[in-house]
Symmetry: C2
Subunit: 154 residues, 2 copies
Amino acid sequence: MSDLLNRDAYVKRFEQFLDVKKMRKTPERFAILRCILAFQSHFTIEQLAQSLELQTYHVSRATLYNTLQLMIEARLVRRHVFEGLPVQYEKAGNTPHSHLICTHCGKLKEVRDNDFIAFMNARKFTAFTADFYMLYVYGTCNTCARKLKKQKTK
Amino acid sequence: MSDLLNRDAYVKRFEQFLDVKKMRKTPERFAILRCILAFQSHFTIEQLAQSLELQTYHVSRATLYNTLQLMIEARLVRRHVFEGLPVQYEKAGNTPHSHLICTHCGKLKEVRDNDFIAFMNARKFTAFTADFYMLYVYGTCNTCARKLKKQKTK
DNA sequence: ATAATTGCAAACATTTTGCATCGCC
DNA sequence: GGCGATGCAAAATGTTTGCAATTAT
């Protein structure tokens, strides 16, 4: 399914995508891509916009949303909506990982899970060809579990 | 994790939840619950509102959103945001199932997957206690696959 | 009785759109 | 040069909020 990509591979993939779609290779599009690659993990639109401003590269919201949509179609970026959190984006092509979301504090954790990856890679669906998947696990993180325990004993 | 519930079990669970939270058992809340139970599967806010209107039971948007939030906290309802689709709700407590989303036509399919359920039930996370999970598989449905094939040969 | 809940409409946050301008191909 | 892309501001969407009226406890 998705494979590890280095910086250049992302850029190349995006160029190819734009070629196929006969779309222009504008500096904005690549500035945004560069910026996304600099994020270690998840980011919000606001964080992305801020990050671009810091680089004294201004891009309008319209273009940001536009470009992110393109990148999602190009399978370079994924969009996540977790309960109670602002919309999160992340670059695709990293090691596949599951998302743990604490329903008490909203903390988000990524976990790599080789067994799960192996399981999913082997998994076939009838009348459907899988492209990529997302696993969201909701529950309680240790910090909140401790807090809840304390409250009870009070 | 989640178990099969019949109609009464949902109502009872909701009553218990309201008791614990010291919240009122208003007719609106139970009308909404009844309405949700009538849906076989996923539904949108609009569909829920319409369904309530048809029963000549008017409930304001504010109350709808409010109550759905309560039910999510009570683990009676789940909220899904799929790429390119309006926000979907579904009653929890059904047989666990994965979601297949076609990235071409947006069609949504639920699949029961015993192997996956077994896998997840056995799965333990470090420093995190899982409560429930959601698996979203994005890809291409057979109908779209056929269409795409035709286009290529043209 | 009284505090929680409701409905309404206004406010809000986020995303999309229309249009004039700009710049890649 | 021409069409696609951009920026801006305005609009649309989906959801939340404030407040007065209502109602479950």
